[in-house]
Amino acid sequence: TTVTGTRGRSAAVAIAALVIAAGIPLWWKTTETYRAWLPAARISELEALQLELRVEVEVVFARGTLSPEQQKKVPASRITYESCCKSKSLCLVEADHALHTLTETSCGSVVIYIIPEASALLPQDMRVYVGRSRTALLRSQVASVVGAGLPEVLAALDPQMEQVLQTMSFNHQDVTAALTDRLRPGLSTRDSLADSMRAFKSSPGYEITFSLLNPDPKHHQLHWDVEAALDAYIYPLLHKMAPVANFSVDSQILYYAVLGVNPRYDASASAYTLSADSLAHVINPVEARLGSNAASSNPVLNFLLYVPDSLHSPLIIRNDQKQEVASNAFHSPRWGGIMVYNVDGAYGNDTQFPVDIAIDMSRVMGVFLSQLRLMLGFQQTGAPPGFVLEAAGREGVAEWELDRLLWSRSVENVATASASITSLAQLLDQIANIVINDNIAQQVASAVTALQAAVAELEAGNLALALEHSREAISASERAFFDPSLLHLLYFPDDQKFAIYIPLFLPMCVPILLSLLKIFREVQQHRAEKRAKRD
């Protein structure tokens, strides 16, 4: 029996060795979740991100602003200024246009022309003129700074230049507004909060829908040449905004669509009126009929043109102070705008219905364009005292206004992307079970690279490149965060793990353990006997 005994013992030991040496590592390896490597060190660097924004400013001194000694010390002066602005009767806009052709300004930079105090270009009480492109005219007298070199001259101009830059590029308010949801509440002012609530958040694309609402087709047969109007007025703005986002525009006509609110007849104005409080309830009944593109998840801006029916014409909108609103339009933050267009003036009482009416698209698009600017993030510019801001004109937006938007969008993108990546890394860290596929790791790595590039470009002052990198960063980080595969095995409590493994492993392990114990005891006994024999 000793032979069988030893055979039995060696068999038991061999099985136990196999289970422990080969089985346990095999089980561990095969039940491991696949987790691709993430650049954790660079991600933790993102948590302490410091943003530095740099604006390139070129200061050009016109003849007459510097004394001859100062002029010698200034490195390069523009002599060509005088040649184009010789005639006194040159108006401001033409001067601005002429100056614009002199310099090629890159995105994000600003050129400030210092003109003499006595110059007739600006009206008497205005000190600064901001043109349509990135130039500003600043009226100042620096020759009075005695015995000064270039640094002192620039230092004397510093406060005024700061004012100009805060209007044209960005200021503390704008930057904190761009970061509102990442900062502690109370840091941003209410005005900037209102602006950030009104404009859409940065998104890779937007859908814009123009709708004509005709509740009364029996009386009004409306013609609107929306394609041509979009081409002429809206597409220039959207093309300029191409670096910011993609836009898709469509239009529709809705018949028998009514507002959800009954307007009140006001005999004094002999018109139907909508008061400001009832406007909030107008939108919901209409929205159900508007529709949207089922394939995309981009935010939608709706612009509605409502032509009141003949029984309720004319329809005017009154504000809180019961005054008529010139534009006869209102807008809702992050949704769009509605304009009421009265056509009762186009026909008399005894015309034959339905009446053909052509809608004046330039008036309509003027309102929609200003509402679109608000929705896209161009703030209502409050000019500081002493400033003259040139109106945007046909393109819809001035270059420096676009630059302002690009600054705040870049900052917002950088903040959102870094927040996404850090919270994703935290999530993946906390849940050991979650599977990290290769594509997620790749997206995270490319997002981190793009983020660092964006921050570097912001520091260097290259706004266009910074925006591009920040857009890349945000799209990669969103794709990584919202990847559908990150949902599995989210919550796998330990007691469930035990419940799965015990029925499998316990029946197998018990005989092995017991036999090992038996062998161990036999060996002990044998040793004890041997010792006794020796003694």
């Binding site: 943003l51 002012t189 209102a194 909030a280 949207s292 089922a294 010139a326 996404s420």
Partner: protein, 377 residues
């Protein structure tokens, strides 16, 4: 466990190299005032009925009545994600097909003809529910099945079905635990997918589902405490099942008095269905909510009151000269319809192959002798 901590990004420091902190924005104070009663600009609702089968009629009726109220108060279908098993209206056991009633004697048909169910039947799963909440949907998901909320959205989430201590049963086959739900809300907060969230649950031991919440701006209501059952309200003898649960029945009665301009606040909602009516004790949780519940209007969550501003600025545009639009040359209709016929592949004429094989066989038998023929026939 999760790291439960502050969710503001701690380390972003903005240093602008040249600028001081003086502000130059001059905006009208009155306009800014109107915005700040509440922080939201749009409303969403996620209404989930987690049961199927005929005897759970009341859960479908619960969800559909909340759906009706929410629509009546202004939230459009595009902003409602409705998840129902939707097997009541056309069930073989329904004596009144295409209807789902919420009051006995068939007073109110909450199914109607404009209900828009986004997830129906077997699509109502824990996975889909969590995917909707966290936004991790496959790219092919249509817009109506997504929760496209942003950082200024107020979301109403209503769950009903069979639940237990710490879990909610989905369609008799799986369950969602309160930890998963709390983690899903935290992920929504990390991506700022909501401004404020109201969570209402009408199941047995419903209060256990909101025990584990830890994200900010959450308010929760449940129909019963841990250890208590939520009871159903009234059976209809003609239909043969219970039509509604008590808590939702009295919630619906409360909501019937709310109209879009109503000023009722959350404290009134907490008083809905006291123990005398509900038999169970409804509970609520507001410690994670930043505003005082007395200042939160019911319509902040159940309705969709838009913030509106008058457009003061317009841009003067000059009418442009009409440029004749050139359309792409199109093929004439005749050419489109009668296109050239498609080239068919050439086949050998019929019978050719049959003849070919007969020939081969005959040659074979000729060569090797006729005696093999008998093995074939």
């Amino acid at each position: 466990g999760w790291k439960r901590g502050s969710s503001f990004l701690p380390g972003i420091d903005v240093t602008d190299t040249k600028l001081s902190t003086s502000a130059f924005l001059l905006l009208h104070q009155a306009r800014a005032e109107r915005f700040f009663r509440s922080d939201h600009t749009n409303n969403w609702a996620v209404l989930v009925c987690t049961s199927r089968f005929w005897f759970n009629y009341r859960h479908v009726a619960n969800t559909l009545s909340v759906y009706r109220s929410v629509k009546r108060l202004g939230i459009p279908d595009s902003h409602i994600v409705l998840m129902l098993a939707d097997d009541m209206a056309c069930n073989h056991r329904n004596p009144k097909p295409a209807t789902v009633f919420s009051h006995k004697n068939m007073e109110l048909n909450v199914y109607g003809d404009d209900v828009e169910v986004d997830y129906r039947g077997y699509e109502v799963t824990v996975e889909n529910f969590l995917r909707v909440l966290t936004g991790r949907l496959p790219p092919s998901t249509p817009r109506s099945k997504r929760l496209l909320s942003d950082d200024h959205s107020n979301i109403l989430i209503y769950l009903t079905g069979h639940g237990g201590n710490g879990f909610l049963k989905f369609q008799d086959s799986e369950e969602i635990s309160n930890v998963e739900l709390a983690d899903a809300f935290e992920q929504m907060w990390q991506k700022r997918r909501y401004n404020e969230l109201l969570f209402i649950i009408d199941t047995c031991q419903g209060a256990s589902m909101y025990e584990r919440f830890y994200s900010p701006n959450l308010m929760a209501l449940a129909s019963s405490q841990v250890g208590e059952d939520s009871l159903s309200h009234q059976p209809d003898l003609a239909i043969g099942v219970h039509l509604m649960d008590r808590y939702t029945f009295y919630l619906l009665e409360f909501l019937e008095d709310i109209h879009p301009a109503s000023q009722a606040n959350m404290n009134d909602l907490f008083k809905v269905c006291p123990k005398s009516q509900c038999v169970s004790t409804p509970g609520h949780r507001t410690d994670l909510f930043q505003r005082d519940p007395g200042s939160v209007l019911i319509t902040d969550f159940f309705g969709s009151v838009r913030k509106v501003e008058i457009t003061m600025e317009t841009i003067n545009l000059t009418p442009h000269t009409e440029t004749a639009l050139a359309y792409v040359d199109q093929l004439p209709v005749a050419q489109i319809i009668h296109q050239k016929p498609k080239q068919k592949d050439w086949h050998p004429p019929d019978g050719f192959i049959l003849g070919l094989w007969t020939l081969i066989l005959l040659v074979f038998f000729r060569t090797y002798g006729i005696k093999h023929l008998k093995h074939i026939f």
